[in-house]
C-alpha cells in the first residue's frame, strides 16, 4: 500500500501495451487461423499430418498471444506472470496425461466392444442394407424451464 500508483496508465503492466504489438498479434493470429482452416478444408493431408499441422498452428497461436497479448516476458514487471504460466505446464501435463492414461485403460476394460462398421468415419460409411424406418414416437413437448 505504501507504493500505490494512482494513475492506472502508469502501472508497469499497462505500459507494456502498444499498438504495434496488438496489431502484430492480430495479423499473426489471423494468418495462423486461416492456415489451420485451409488445412482442415483441404482434406488432402494424412491423419498424422493433419494433426501435426493443426497442433503446430495452435502452439504458434498460443505463444503469439502469450507474448503480444498477455505480455509474458522476463521484464521485472511481468516475470511473475511468466513464471506462473511455466509452473502451470507440468500440472497441466500431469492432469491431462494421467487422466488420459487412466481412461484409455478403463475404456479398454469396461466399454462394450463396438461392431467394426460403426467405428468407421460416418462420411465413409455405406448406406445400411436394410433402411431403418425413422422413429416416429410422439415426443412430449418439454415444459418451459
Amino acid at each position: 500500500m505504501t507504493h500505490s500508483v494512482d494513475n492506472p496508465l502508469h502501472h508497469p503492466e499497462v505500459e507494456q501495451a502498444s499498438f504495434a504489438g496488438y496489431l502484430a498479434n492480430f495479423v499473426i493470429t489471423v494468418v495462423v487461423m486461416t492456415a489451420a482452416l485451409w488445412v482442415v478444408g483441404d482434406k488432402s493431408l494424412s491423419t498424422l499430418g493433419f494433426i501435426g499441422w493443426t497442433t503446430l498452428f495452435a502452439v504458434v497461436a498460443v505463444l503469439v498471444q502469450a507474448y503480444f497479448l498477455l505480455h509474458m516476458n522476463w521484464s521485472k514487471a511481468q516475470v511473475w506472470h511468466t513464471v506462473a504460466m511455466l509452473m502451470f505446464i507440468p500440472l497441466f501435463v500431469v492432469m491431462i496425461g494421467l487422466t488420459a492414461w487412466m481412461f484409455h485403460g478403463l475404456y479398454e476394460r469396461t466399454m462394450i466392444a463396438m461392431p467394426p462398421h460403426t467405428m468407421a468415419a460416418p462420411m465413409k460409411r455405406a448406406a445400411p442394407a436394410q433402411a431403418v424406418p425413422p422413429v416416429s414416437q410422439p415426443v412430449p413437448a418439454p415444459k418451459a424451464m
Binding site: M1, L91, L98, P142, K143, M145
Partner: protein, 678 residues
C-alpha cells in the same frame, strides 16, 4: 427454455413454494426455533448495546487482515458446531437403527431419520466440515498470522481479502438456509454421478450443494491469490526466503495448491451445472457423457484439497513445538522441502479415491506408489518435530498438548493411510468405515492443530491469554471422545461395515456402535467445557492480560509487536537479521519495542463493497437454486455494476498520522507479565 423440470414452476417464484418449508419435520422445526432464539438474542444484544454502527464500521466493512481472520475463525466455529450436530445425528441414528427389530420414530422405519433425511445429514456433515469449518479456520489463522510473520502491515490486496471472506460467508449461509427452505443434497459431500443429474435428483438439494460449493471455491481461490502475493511481495527487508517462518512456508505451499486446484473444482461443478440447467451430457451415462469424468475431475481437486487442509496444520505444529521445547526447529530446510514435496505429490495421487473403478493394474500401481511417496516428506516432518522436542525443555501448556495430540493422530492416520494406499486393500474396504476412520484421524489432527494454534496465537490477537483449567478439561474430553468413537470405527471397518448406512443390518455391530455413541457423549461434554473455557477466559480477560511475548520463548516476528496487535501491525517495519528473528533479538539484547519518533502510516480504507457483493452473490445463487431467473439476472447485473463503480473509486486508502501512532504506542504496556506461564 433450458430443461424439463419435474414439479411446478412459475416466473415470479421459480420453484419456491410453501411446500419447500419443512414445517412437518419436528427436528427441523426445533432447529429453526433454536436458530431463531440465537438470532434474536444476537440482534437484541446488538440493539441493546447500540453496537450496530460499531459492528458495521469496525468489523463488517473492515479490510484489516486480523479482523477478517477473526471473522473467518468465527464462521468456522459456527459451522464446526453445525457439522458436529450432524455427526451427533448420524451416530445416534446408527446406534438405534440396528437389526430388523430396532424401533422407528418420526416416520422412519428404523431409528429416527428417514433415508432421505440422513442422506442430507451426512452430505452436509462432510461438506461443512471440509469446506465451511476447517477451511475458514485455517484460512482465518493464515490471514492473521502470515502478514505478522513476514513483517507486513496488511495483505497485498486488502479489499480482495474482505471479498473472499464475504463470498465464503454467503456460501455458508446457503448451506444453513437449506435447512429451513428446501433441502440439501443427499448423496454424499463429493457428489455421485449420474445420481446428481436432474432426472435422478430433481429437487433443489443438489443445487444448494453445488452453488454453495462453487461460491466457497471462488472465495478460497481469491484468498489464495492474496496470500501468495503477500508472501512473495510484502516481506520485510532482510526476510530472505530461507529466513521465512515455517508457518509462512506452509501457507505458501498450501495456497499454491489452492490456486492451482480450486479452478478444477469450479470446472467440474460448472459442468454439472450445465447438465442440470441446460441439459448437456457431460456426466450422463449415455449420449456421449461419462459419469467417471466427474469422479476424475472432482478428485483432481479433492486430493490436493486435503493437503491444502493439512499443510497449514503442519505449519502450526512447526511453530508451537519449538516455542514449548525452547529450541529452534530441527531441520528447517528439510521442513521447507517436505512442505513443497507434499504439495507437489498431491497432484499425482487423486486416483486412489477410486481404485475400484476398474482402471488398469498399472494405473492403480502408479497411484499406489505415488500415494505411498507422500509418507516420505510427512515422515521427515514427524522426525523433525520429535528431534525438536528431543533434549528440549518441553513445557506441556495447552498449545503444546494440542500439538502433541496432533502428532499422535498423525501417526494413527498416516499409518492407516499407508494401508489404504494399497489398491488391493482398497478392493476390500472401498466405501467402508475403515477409510472413514482413517480420514477422521487426519481431520482431527487438523482440528487439534487449529485448537493448539488458537490457544497459541490468541493472546497475540486479543491481548489476553485463554485460561488453562477448563481448556485442559476440554482437551482431555476431546481425547476421550476421539478414542471412543474412532477405535470402534477402525474395528467396524475391519469387519466390513460400509459407510453412510441409514440402517445397520447386523446386530453384531451394535456394541461397537453404542461405544461410539458414548464417545459422542464425551464430545458433547467437551463442547460444554469449551464454552466454559471461552466464558472464563473472557470473564478473566483483565487478569490474564499479557505483553508482547506471552509465552516467553516464542521465536518469530509476530511476537515482536504489541498484544493486541495495533491496526498497523508494526510502528516501524522491522529489519530482519536471522531466521528466528525474535529469538535472535532476545539473545542479542535488542528486543525493546520502544521508539522515539514515529512516521505516518499509509493503510487501506474500510469499505462496505465486499459485504454488498457477498449479499448479492447469496441472492444470485438463491435465485439459481430455485430457478427464479429474474432475481438471478438482477443480482448478477448489480454485481457487475458494483464492481465497475468500485473500480472508479479513488478514495481507497488513508493515512494514520504519526501523532496517532505515537498515542497508540505510548498507551501500550509491553512490560506486562510476558514470562507468566500457565
Amino acid at each position: 427454455m433450458f430443461v424439463h423440470l419435474q414439479g411446478p414452476w412459475n416466473p415470479v417464484w421459480g420453484r419456491l413454494s410453501l411446500q419447500a418449508i419443512p414445517y412437518h419435520n419436528p427436528i427441523l422445526v426445533g432447529t429453526f426455533l433454536f436458530a431463531v432464539v440465537i438470532a434474536l438474542a444476537a440482534v437484541g444484544a446488538v440493539l441493546y448495546f447500540r453496537a450496530g454502527p460499531y459492528l458495521w464500521r469496525e468489523w463488517l466493512t473492515t479490510v484489516d487482515h486480523k479482523k477478517i481472520g477473526v471473522m473467518y475463525c468465527l464462521l468456522g466455529l459456527v459451522m464446526l458446531f453445525r457439522g458436529f450436530a450432524d455427526a451427533l445425528m448420524i451416530r445416534t441414528q446408527q446406534a438405534i437403527a440396528v437389526g430388523p427389530h430396532s424401533p422407528g420414530y418420526l416416520g422412519a422405519l428404523h431409528g429416527y431419520l428417514t433415508p432421505f433425511h440422513i442422506g442430507q445429514v451426512y452430505t452436509a456433515h462432510g461438506l461443512i466440515m471440509v469446506v465451511f469449518a476447517a477451511t475458514p479456520l485455517l484460512v482465518g489463522i493464515m490471514n492473521i498470522i502470515v502478514p505478522l510473520q513476514i513483517g507486513a502491515r496488511d495483505m497485498a490486496y486488502p479489499y480482495l481479502n474482505a471479498l473472499g471472506f464475504w463470498l465464503t460467508a454467503a456460501a455458508a449461509g446457503l448451506v444453513m438456509l437449506s435447512l429451513f427452505v428446501g433441502n440439501f443434497a443427499h448423496g454424499g459431500w463429493y457428489g455421485f454421478l449420474p445420481y446428481f443429474e436432474l432426472p435422478y435428483s430433481p429437487g433443489v438439494g443438489v443445487d444448494y450443494w453445488m452453488w454453495a460449493f462453487q461460491l466457497s471455491a471462488v472465495g478460497t481461490t481469491l484468498g489464495s491469490i492474496n496470500l501468495i502475493a503477500t508472501i512473495v511481495k510484502m516481506r520485510a527487508p532482510g526476510m530472505t526466503w530461507m529466513r521465512m517462518p515455517i508457518f509462512t512456508w506452509a501457507s505458501l505451499s498450501t495456497n499454491l495448491i489452492a490456486l492451482t486446484s480450486f479452478p478444477v473444482l469450479m470446472v467440474s461443478l460448472a459442468l454439472l451445472g450445465l447438465d442440470r440447467y441446460f441439459g448437456t451430457h457431460f456426466y450422463t451415462a449415455g449420449n456421449g457423457g461419462n459419469l467417471m469424468l466427474y469422479n476424475d475431475l472432482f478428485w483432481v481437486w479433492g486430493h490436493p484439497e486435503v493437503y491444502f487442509l493439512i499443510l497449514p496444520a503442519f505449519g502450526m505444529m512447526s511453530e508451537i513445538i519449538p516455542t514449548f521445547s525452547e529450541k529452534t526447529l530441527f531441520g528447517y530446510t528439510t521442513m521447507v522441502v517436505a512442505s513443497f514435496a507434499i504439495g507437489g505429490v498431491s497432484w499425482g495421487v487423486w486416483l486412489h479415491h477410486f481404485f475400484t473403478m476398474a482402471a488398469e493394474p498399472s494405473v492403480n500401481s502408479f497411484y499406489s506408489v505415488t500415494t505411498m511417496l507422500v509418507g516420505i516428506p510427512t515422515g521427515v516432518k514427524v522426525f523433525n518435530w520429535i528431534f525438536t522436542m528431543y533434549r528440549g525443555r518441553v513445557r506441556f501448556e495447552l498449545p503444546m498438548m494440542w500439538a502433541v495430540l496432533a502428532l499422535f493422530l498423525l501417526l494413527v492416520g498416516g499409518m492407516s493411510g499407508m494401508m489404504n494406499a494399497f489398491a488391493a486393500n482398497d478392493y476390500m474396504w472401498h466405501n467402508g468405515v475403515f477409510v472413514v476412520a482413517h480420514f477422521h484421524m487426519m481431520v482431527l489432527l487438523i482440528a487439534a492443530s487449529i485448537f493448539g494454534a488458537v490457544e497459541y496465537w490468541f493472546p497475540k490477537i486479543f491481548g489476553f491469554k485463554l485460561e488453562q483449567r477448563w481448556g485442559k478439561w476440554f482437551f482431555w474430553f476431546m481425547v476421550l471422545g476421539t478414542a471412543w468413537v474412532f477405535v470402534p470405527m477402525f474395528i467396524l471397518g475391519f469387519t466390513g461395515m460400509t459407510r453412510r448406512l441409514d440402517y445397520v443390518p447386523y446386530t453384531q455391530w451394535a456394541p461397537y456402535l453404542r461405544v461410539m455413541l458414548v464417545g459422542m457423549a464425551f464430545y458433547v461434554i467437551a463442547l460444554v467445557f469449551f464454552f466454559a473455557h471461552l466464558y472464563v477466559s473472557l470473564r478473566d480477560r483483565v487478569k490474564n492480560r499479557v505483553g508482547a511475548d506471552p509465552w516467553g520463548t516464542s521465536r518469530n516476528l509476530e511476537w515482536m509487536t504489541h498484544s493486541p496487535v495495533p491496526a498497523y501491525n508494526f510502528a516501524y517495519i522491522p529489519h530482519v537479521h536471522a531466521r528466528d528473528e525474535w529469538a535472535w533479538r532476545k539473545e542479542n539484547g535488542v528486543a525493546s519495542l520502544a521508539n522515539e519518533s514515529f512516521e505516518d502510516i499509509h493503510m487501506p480504507r474500510n469499505t462496505g463493497v465486499p459485504v454488498l457483493l457477498g449479499a448479492l452473490s447469496f441472492v444470485l445463487c438463491f435465485g439459481l437454486i430455485w430457478r427464479i431467473w429474474w432475481l438471478s439476472a438482477a443480482s448478477l447485473a448489480l454485481v457487475v455494476l458494483v464492481i465497475i463503480v468500485r473500480s472508479f473509486a479513488r478514495n481507497t486508502d488513508e493515512v494514520i498520522t504519526a501523532k496517532t501512532v505515537a498515542g497508540v504506542e505510548g498507551a501500550v504496556d509491553d512490560a506486562l507479565p510476558s514470562a507468566a506461564r500457565g
